[in-house]
Symmetry: C2
Subunit: 485 residues, 2 copies
């Protein structure tokens, strides 16, 4: 009889899920307790993990216990622990417990909010949680928010929207083979993140369309040079289209003068995109609000809760004052996705049709910590960075190489009492970094600031305390001593 067909093989049973789920909870809780017992930087060589795994998928099913055993045995030694309190490289991030639990629920529910009706809850919670975040960082309600996966994708949408606004009929006609479209220009500083480069390339503008304005001694874009570049480019027949101002650049966390850049963009009809991927949350702090002066006049702004708002990877928050332009660029509804409800559909706000239920973790994190709790935590990280900056400044053999407006300290060893070439200093500091990172306790990174090799210590994990920052400083000093012998 129809309907009585053999039940097909299904999923793990709920009881089996219970058993393994509770095991995984215990595993994660122990990992939270023991994170410092793992080396922060993985100690494997390229190929080690790959060689330890079979070259082919198993033909028959394996037990979840066996899989977890291999996970512990083979994969765990290959982790660089972004959750370690000694992780002070790149930007230090946190998968906070409420965020991890929210992500767990999101995975199980598997909501896909392409259309309102395919997940009213995910669609509207995104609006609500992004509204909360918008108010907390002081943006006016003329900004509409949408969640993407990464700042690379948020920025890509900003560039696409700027192109849509600047080039007549670009959605339909594109850029190639048109006598009426000149070469385009996007402006950023020499400190701007590489995602701008990739976005400009992908949008078909060509890398040469990105003109990098020199930064000043504190690594801030120089507005006078931006203005001069625009004038020069217009005279040469280019079409200036957009500018990117950064609040908290990746190398040094420098802050571009957003208000001055906003003035220029308004006068020249350029799209202004503000990249606050890292430092955005500090707009919640009255004492940091001045860094964001002028951001309310931006056309778009990106900040990443997965950087410094305790959110497990990935969640990038994109705010746009002209979201209609984003929709104009991308909205496109095939027959099979037409719905009668007239609701706002998230698929219209971008390239990706499918959308994981990311708003759940943002909402749970903001509630669990509360606005006050978020501000307290940001302030604690900034204070830890100021402590380290003070120790660097007070030490005769070290020098700070950039201001420390947020939670990243840029400096180098420069032992007193002799003359150094830049090459010698670069080599010395690279060796210091290598020694510190070999400790397994602390992981720091490097950059080059206006040609100067620079050590970066980034604070931002919820487990990082004064003890860890002090230990980092001890290890750095010890490494200098060892290198000086």
């Amino acid at each position: 009889m129809k309907g009585d067909a053999t039940i097909p093989p299904g999923d793990m049973s709920p009881d089996e899920f219970r058993r393994h789920g509770h095991e995984v909870v215990e595993w994660i809780a122990r990992f939270m307790e023991d994170t410092e017992r793992y080396p922060v930087l993985a100690r494997v060589a390229p190929g080690d993990i790959r060689k330890a795994l079979p070259g082919q998928a198993p033909e028959t099913a394996e037990s979840f216990d066996a899989i977890l055993d291999d996970f512990n045995r083979v994969l765990m030694p290959g982790m660089t622990h972004w959750s370690h309190p000694g992780f002070m490289a790149y930007f230090s991030i946190t998968a906070s417990a409420p965020g991890v639990l929210a992500d767990f629920i999101a995975s199980a529910l598997n909501q896909q909010a392409m259309l309102w009706r395919t997940s009213p809850a995910a669609t509207e919670l995104e609006e609500v949680a992004m509204g909360w975040l918008r108010q907390l960082i002081g943006l006016p309600d003329s900004f509409e928010g949408v969640i993407y996966d990464t700042a690379s994708i948020s920025t890509l949408h900003a560039i696409a929207a700027a192109r849509e606004a600047a080039v007549p009929q670009v959605r339909q006609l594109g850029l190639a083979g048109r006598a009426d479209v000149p070469r385009l220009r996007v402006y950023c500083s020499d400190q701007t993140h590489s995602s701008i480069d990739k976005g400009v390339i992908l949008a078909g503008l060509g890398h040469q369309a990105l003109r990098k304005i020199p930064s000043d001694a504190e690594f801030r874009m120089q507005p006078a040079l931006l203005r001069a570049a625009i004038v020069e480019d217009r005279a040469a027949g280019f079409l200036p289209m957009a500018a990117v101002a950064t609040v908290g650049s990746t190398s040094s966390t420098s802050v571009d003068p957003v208000a001055a850049i906003a003035d220029i963009c308004a006068a020249e009809s350029l799209w202004l995109h503000v990249d606050a991927a890292y430092a955005g949350p500090t707009a919640m702090l009255p004492e940091c609000a001045h860094h964001f002066a002028g951001a309310d006049r931006a056309d778009s702004l990106v900040m990443n809760p997965h950087k410094w708002l305790f959110t497990p990877f990935d969640l990038s928050a994109f705010f746009c004052r002209r979201m209609d332009v984003v929709r104009q660029a991308f909205s496109l509804t095939p027959e099979y996705l037409k719905t009668p409800d007239g609701a706002r559909n998230l698929m219209d706000t971008g390239v990706q049709l499918g959308r994981r239920f990311r708003s759940l973790k943002l909402w749970m994190i903001l509630r669990y910590f509360g606005a006050e709790g978020v501000r307290d935590r940001l302030r604690a990280h900034i204070r830890l960075a100021q402590d380290l900056a003070g120790w660097v400044d007070a030490h005769p053999d070290f020098e700070r190489l950039a201001p420390t407006p947020f939670s990243v300290v840029c400096f180098r060893a420069r032992p007193a009492g002799r003359t150094w070439t830049e090459g010698e200093l670069a080599s010395l500091n690279e060796r210091i970094m290598t020694r510190v990172n070999a400790s397994g306790e602390i992981f720091i990174s490097q950059t080059v600031l206006h040609g100067t090799y620079t050590l970066r210590v980034a604070i931002g994990n919820l487990k990082t305390t004064g003890r860890h920052v002090a230990r980092a400083w001890d290890l750095i000093q010890q490494a200098l001593s060892a290198e000086s012998q």
Copy 2:
């Protein structure tokens, strides 16, 4: 004393995480047991969820219990349940239990595999798991795999790579203001997914660059028309650049003749991208392999394990025979990301710098079910769809509107014994769908095939059994009866 600074406020404690983690495991297990007790299609109206939530973030911290209560009370009624066995709309997907557990671990570890050294395990497991998948679907080892979030992004990379291969110095010079670059052309069928449209727009080619080749009576691209279009376009001064062949189109799961299209692409030097986002896993079945004949000659292919390979959203698998071109288009390493290890860095293979640890769930799922278990499950879904197709064919008041090569059945009611206009049939079938979807038991969707309003029933969730498909068929017949009175 330095280092004894006040410990800053941190995360939820491990013990608190234990308590809430175990609660969430129990919640998810009950949800797995009880999914059918929820209406599959949410019964809220636009704005209901938003209005039930505060307009501002709380100033002070709230308990996780209170947050979970609100989640249950406010958000759960706003879910359309993609995990419900009666979810037969769009493509039916599964967040399998091993995949959910893997995602939970991935969230907690918060690995970010931009560089090899920032997660050797995530970097190399991606290589291993994608190698397994590549072999399972029968692609040669000349294809390199990389994981993105969605097929929209995979396809975007295919288009960007095709542009890189076709347009001299496009990375540097872009498309605008160049006398040496004519208008470009990308070819697909009139059944191709909207992600191609969005990718072509974003890449700056313009929507008009996408030429849609008419499909035949079985919704397959007609190679002779593709060839003629290319000839015509070359004569008119266009530069043909790429073609997209689909195996399992979204509307009807039709299969383009990949081998014939591959012949044309080879002869005309076009990049061939195969969109197998939905049907890709069936390449593991010998009885389906013929649908993929010629795919080994594609330049790139996308399939989405988050569609029909039991993987929680999101995970899209991109295979490319010319990944060097993708790298040539996007590889770009700022000073702060330079590393001495010489390893392959995933950040070089695309636009997104940040990468969630997605390979973990793919690896765990392939091991937990095993290749044989995956094939059994795919076959079960295909069999269920064939059953329904048979019932439709045998019923005098229904007609099938497309072949059923995989697990989606396209059909409509067309009651015998009277003459219908197309408009009347569209209206009748829309009312049938609305009645079925109001049941809360089953959720189906619609499309338009060559102008004909069509009902779509998509099978693909691991919990869907013959009982659910039979119930869908009963509800559809009942709806027709109700509408016929």
